[in-house]
């Protein structure tokens, strides 16, 4: 009796112990590990983590002019607007308190972190085909390349002969949280962007159902943007062409009745939006007189995208402001688009001396930007004239959306475009000459305090 008892207990105990290794091998709800390939698809589907971009740089470009004292005073009154003012007057530091995060830095590196996790984990994920994994990795590479391309153009000097020694931004390509953050050179960043995009383009789908998810055209268009910023106009032109063969639809602004949401905008190749919208006073992008002088009132872009500040923003406001974000209440697109590819192609042709071909490209766009009655084909007398006209068209087409500042940077030493800009803020005048250090954004003290190995810009 007693022996039976003991043996039952012992057997029971042994059985329990042997089955125990699996006992704790369960997952608690609400805390998933990615694991399966599908989950990485879901991660990439989360547009929120990949589409946001800069919010700082648009205040620095010459198409904006904060002239009304009501706007200046209000902006000054609250710390949440201070970065706009500081960017506008080309001040360093932009973020004055050492506790202030730099939104652009955070946004882009947040995206890069997500991409790095996917790139790191997707090869060992389960349940997906090799080609599916390659495509997921390619998407992540494309998103990451876009982030680095903007980052290096925000915090590093424009691409040029000294790029291999100019400090760019920390090059973080793995999700390791313990790595050093020494700034890689501008050239190294470009080289990473280049190789990432070229790797990606092999595995990206020819077409993507949504412009927020990259297809081959997205990678081509980013390559085109990158080569343009590098001054490699031949490559820029040919990649722009590659992108255009995959997508070339334009909106006819004269006949369209409403401005489309970004997801259904046929012009957007790779949808990226600014991190904040500037539609309510005092944070409105008031257009400079130089900008307005470029836009004729018959230009549909004038009609759609500019509004009278006084009637929409109240007493004390003058002039016109950029109102695209009030058309569909979405943040402005700063990703690559068909017009951008057309104009890159045009610039490439113009730079190559192919004046009429360049103008043809510009006119393809302009036909959709004017009512038939208002449209006049643009012509150029020579190479420089063509170049000027392409750049002016870029200003009209991309006002207040990242590219004006990038153009201003890359063309600052070009005799055709070189210029010293001045701004006035509450009686004080600020200047930005071509040699100014303020073509490069300072890195927030916050980031440098956390990682002193990050070198500050002069």
């Amino acid at each position: 009796m007693k022996n039976n008892y003991i043996s039952t207990l012992l057997i029971g105990g042994l059985a329990l112990a042997s089955s125990c290794s699996k006992y704790t091998d369960i997952k608690t709800q609400g805390s998933l590990i990615a694991g399966t390939t599908d989950n990485y698809r879901y991660l990439l589907n989360y547009t929120y983590n990949f589409e946001y971009g800069e919010k700082n740089v648009d205040w620095a470009a010459a198409d904006v002019e904060i002239a009304d004292s009501v706007q200046q005073v209000t902006m000054e009154g609250y710390s949440s607007y201070l970065y706009m003012k500081n960017v506008y007057i080309w001040k360093s530091p932009v973020y004055e308190l050492s506790t202030d995060h730099d939104g652009d830095w955070d946004t882009y590196y947040g995206r890069i972190y997500n991409c790095n996790v996917i790139l790191n984990e997707v090869p060992t994920s389960t349940g997906g085909t090799d080609s599916a994994k390659l495509e997921l990795a390619a998407e992540a590479l494309t998103h990451r390349a876009d982030a680095y391309l903007t980052l290096v153009n925000e915090y590093g000097k424009p691409y040029g002969s000294s790029s291999s020694s100019d400090p760019g931004v920390p090059l973080v390509v793995t999700p390791d949280l313990n790595q050093q953050l020494k700034r890689a050179s501008v050239a190294a960043i470009y080289s990473q962007v280049e190789s990432d995009l070229k790797t990606a383009v092999r595995s990206l789908p020819a077409a993507s159902a949504y412009n927020t998810l990259p297809g081959k055209a997205a990678a081509y268009s980013l390559l085109a943007r990158m080569y343009l910023l590098m001054g490699n106009y031949t490559n820029a032109g040919s990649y722009a062409d590659s992108a255009l063969t995959l997508r070339s639809t334009l909106k006819d602004m004269a006949t369209m009745t409403s401005f489309p949401y970004r997801k259904s905008d046929p012009e957007i190749i790779f949808g990226k939006i600014a991190a904040s919208s500037n539609t309510y006073s005092p944070a409105i992008l008031r257009l400079s007189s130089e900008m307005l002088s470029l836009l004729s009132t018959t230009d549909q872009r004038y009609k759609w995208f500019t509004r009278d500040a006084a009637s929409y923003q109240g007493n004390g406001y003058t002039g016109r402001y950029f109102c695209m974000e009030q058309l569909n209440y979405e943040n402005r697109n700063i990703g690559t688009s068909v017009p951008e590819m057309i104009l890159i192609k045009a610039e490439s042709l113009a730079r190559a001396g192919n004046v009429s071909a360049a103008m043809d490209e510009v006119n393809i766009l302009r036909q959709k930007r004017f009512a038939a009655a208002d449209y006049v084909a643009m012509t150029a007398t020579d190479k420089n004239d063509a170049l000027v006209k392409v750049i002016e068209e870029r200003k009209r087409e991309f006002m207040c959306r990242l590219l004006p500042w990038l153009d201003q940077r890359r063309l600052k030493d070009d005799p055709l475009f070189s210029k010293t800009y001045t701004r006035t803020w509450r009686g004080q005048t600020y200047t930005l000459d071509p040699s100014s250090n303020r073509y490069v954004f300072p890195i927030a003290t916050y980031n440098i305090n956390l990682n002193p190995e990050i070198e500050q810009n002069p």
């Binding site: 105990g13 991660l43 000054e76 972190y113 997500n114 949280l177 305090n449």
Partner: protein, 1212 residues
Amino acid sequence: MINLKKVAAFCCLMLAISLQMFAAVASQNQPTLTLKEALNKASRQFHVSFIYEDELVSNKRVITPADDSFKKVEDYLSAVLKPYNLKFRKLGGSQYAIYGNTSDKAKEKDKTNHVAPEEAAFDKAASQQPAVQMTQVQTNRTLDTTGTEMRVLVGVVTDESMASVSSATIMVPGTKYMTVTGRNGDFSLKVPVNTQKIQVSCIAYQSQVLPVTNAIYYKVALKDKTGYLKPVEVVSTGYVNLPKERATGSFGVVTAKELEKTPTANVINRLEGMVPGLQMQITAGDNSFVYDNVTPAPSSNTRTIGANNYNYNIRGNTTISSEKSPLVVVDGFPTEFDLKNLNPNDIEQITFLRDAAAASIWGARAANGVIVIQTKKGHLRSPAVNVSIGYSRQARPDVGYLKLMNSSQALAFDKELVDKGIITDASYNPYSSGIKYYIDKGVDLAFQLKSGRITQSEYDAKVAELSKRNNYDQLNQYLMQPADAQNYNLSVSGGTDVHTYFLSGSYAKENTSTVGNYGERINLTANQEFKILKKITLGVSLKGAFFNYASNGIGLTPLLNGSNTWMPYDDIHDNFYYTLGEHFADSLQNLGYRNWSTNYLNELKMNSMRTRDNNYSGTITLDVPLYKGLNFNGAYMQERDYFTIRNMKDVNSAYVRDLYNKGTILSGASLTHNFPDGGVLNATNNSMNNYSARGQFTYNRSIGEDHQISALAGMEVRQTLNSANSYTIYGYNPATGFGITVPYGTYYNTVDYSGGYLSGYPEQSDKVKRYLSYYGNAAYTYKSKYTLSGSVRYDDYNNFGLDRKYRAKPFWSTGVSWNMSKENFMQDITWINSLRVRATFGVNGNINQDLRPFTNISLGSSDSQTGLPTAFITSPANPALKWENTYVTNFGIDYSFLNGRLGGTIDLYNKKGTDIIYSLEINPALVGANNTIQRNGVNMLNRGVDIGVNGAIVDTKDFGWNMGLNFSYNTNKVTSNTLKPTTSFYSSFSGYIEGYATDALWSYRNAGLDSVGMTMIYDQNGNKVHANKAVTDLSAVKYSGRRSAPIYGSLQNTFRYKNWSMFVMATYSFGSVFRAPVSTQYPSSRKLYYNTSADIANRWQKAGDEAHTIVPGVAGAYAGTSVMRYAYSDINIQSGDYIRLREISLAYQLPSEMAGKVFAKNIKVSGAVRNLGLIWKKNKLGLDPDYVPVMASTVLHLPATPQYSLMLNVGF
């Protein structure tokens, strides 16, 4: 009376006769051996000797068993003695005592007593002395080594309620002959035959001297000595009960007797000041179990229930983001329930496991210390019934405790906000066009003046009128009330040798000081033990705790600072407009909107928020003796909780009207209603289903006289399942139980453009967590002097580690103790009764249930752009994630001097926490904007001393004064060099700094105001820094002290005078600091924020004011930083030192003759006053450091008001 006695005597006579007849019949039918012969036979067969009473043994015959049918003398004795109801007891060596059973009838006789004249005479003598049963002794003589003729006395010592008393001393006065009672209160003592009397004494009981007759068996019932603490003899680790003299670890014990001193329904209130090392902060004084938050939070990593009402720790804090509260173990198993679920009257003993040797058997959850609660069990005796009733009432809390602006000050502030344009015309001026938001009356008047609607003199007149009001008291009067509580308790316990039971039921109700908030609790407990299959013990414990709460109160929430703060000139009978301004709302009402105002008095009646919380727990244990001290214990515990909240918001409540109106859009002349009409029901249902199962072998054996081994090894599995669901029904009709179908989650337009969203889509979450543990524990004691102990535990937890290598780390401990007083050289020091030193070392763990070592994702709903399924990363991968470890070293001394009149413990400890998990800030370049990552990486050190002293200062027959002092000292600091001041540290003092306590309070060095009224602070060089500049050097800020007191404890005095006793407890707390409650936030045009803190009245208003004030002005971009720096300045640091008179209680025990008249054993009437306030405090602001008001908080607790209680306790 006379008749009764006669009847009783007759019954006894009849019983005796019938027993004799039965015996005679039995002997006739079975003529075998006499019992005496049978015992002699056994003596030869088993080589043992017997002591017995001749009378018991004579005239009895037994059936002779076959010689070889018994292997053990015990079995033989059982067989031969059972027919005559005789018992035997081993006296040591090979000697057995045989004695008669104390039948219940004999006790009945004792109780009624006066049966026959000769017995009455005896009982009269015995009423001063305990009842002693005497029987004849025949063969009970031996010679000791000196040739003295010796005899043996055996017996049992109990208390008045017949519960056995262990460690009572039985001695022959003036000689060396003494012994102590064992666990069951039994003893045997060899005394010289000429011994006249023995003395039975035990601390906490009145000593008794018994005449020694020729009886062998003595049953002693000791009377309580009021005020003495019963010595702790057994401590419990939850897995095993240890004799305290063999435990190496640091244990603190609170007994039922001590818990009885505090008349609250929640045991948490009764623990304050009871044990050295336990630090308790009770921050709600108007209730005990009716917490601000009683809703389980399945996803929370730490305790949430009651977290606003009490906090406690054992020996400081060795974690940052993991659980800080100790692990609570009830009847052997960890509980997920709050302590409020326990009926304090059911608790037998609470053992606090303070060091590693005590707690490390709990492994990964032991780092915060462990509280082991044992509930009462039945004792072998006739049923004892206990009834108690209690009622208490508290004074109404006083809003005047809060330092707030008066009406004229508030009006001036209102005007300044308007004049300086901080409250903007565009959004708030009701006299301009467009949507206008809520403003208070003073701002309204200022706008009227500004827009020229009234003249300055009209304004002045209106302000003068409002200034006369000071209506804070209205909140006291209408929304607050005197709290009261009632308590009813009934318990029955008793048992036979095969079944013991303890049954209890209680009901408690508490009305809090907030009108509309109350709670009720019913507790049912049944603890039973059965002896089955000879030696197997089956224990069954069932407990239920059932709560009902109503939380409809408004209380002091109108005072909390925000966009609709109660202003001193507001009248509670008025209607308040909260969402939109009054004029704008009224204009909408004219267009067909509903009234948009709030009236507190109506709101009180409008909503119904009911909570029901039904908790069940059951434990079944099986104890199987296997072989020579080896036992198997199996145990299973199940805990279930069914929790529901029904929050019904009436269609006419301000909440529903507001949502309905907001969702009503004016298009042309017609109104579109986007929000469904009707009441709104929010429902939350939680359930918890936890089980634990355990199998363990225990081994307890004495080998010879010198060696004592006790060991256990076992395995445990545990699962917790937490389920929660919630939903909201719109347009709900309570009569039909139906609502209407709504499109949850869709945004809709609102009239104020804030956008609406029908929340409350039904949600269900189920969180399963599993633990698997193996553990072992062994202790060896040599000569009852030297003990060596060790324990080890391996814990596996399903949410920790991709691979077992991250968690396969054992927790262990080791310890030694030396019972010095048992050494020969100590025997001559008579004033030392016991002296023991202990030393232990080991490691305990802590779990952070939030973290995973892998990249953690969460599945989202469909993407807003593409509609595709989404996921996002919720926490980054951390492959190096580990347990938090706490290494504890402890040195302790237990002492008892002067015959037990002075005793206590001293413990010194060192707790070193490593791998503590903390949100470490990393560069956003690594992870993006959310750049604080929870990681192992912080080390911490706690050092301290725990001292407990208890002494009987005066100890006479009628008067006694007993004093207990608990003293604890704890230092705490972070020792990791990974923790450098971060930027967020300099801006808000969040974060931890190497070399400083986790609860370090930092401050800015205030440098007054600058010319625009902004706070300046000194930097490290003594330069003044303006609000727009940051400081980034540790020497620029000032370490001001710790938030929790490093020195704390209590002083308890118990006085007795005859049947009266008085208990006075004071608690003290020294060395902490707190920030004075001043304004921390100013309104800005972005955020209207009414702040009524009194210091604002002295704010900077115009240039020049900086000469005579340090309270910053309101306007300017850096006003926010400025006011924060002012609030966090060194000038606002106050000392938290205090001495608090916690409780005075007075009890009267009715003389037993009076109690006997109503058939009661004892009747006790007592009264208590709690929360008598501070005897002394260091701060001069009149603030109670435990109740520092935070006007920006969500819960405002005023200091606990005096509570007067009355209790009646009757035992039958």
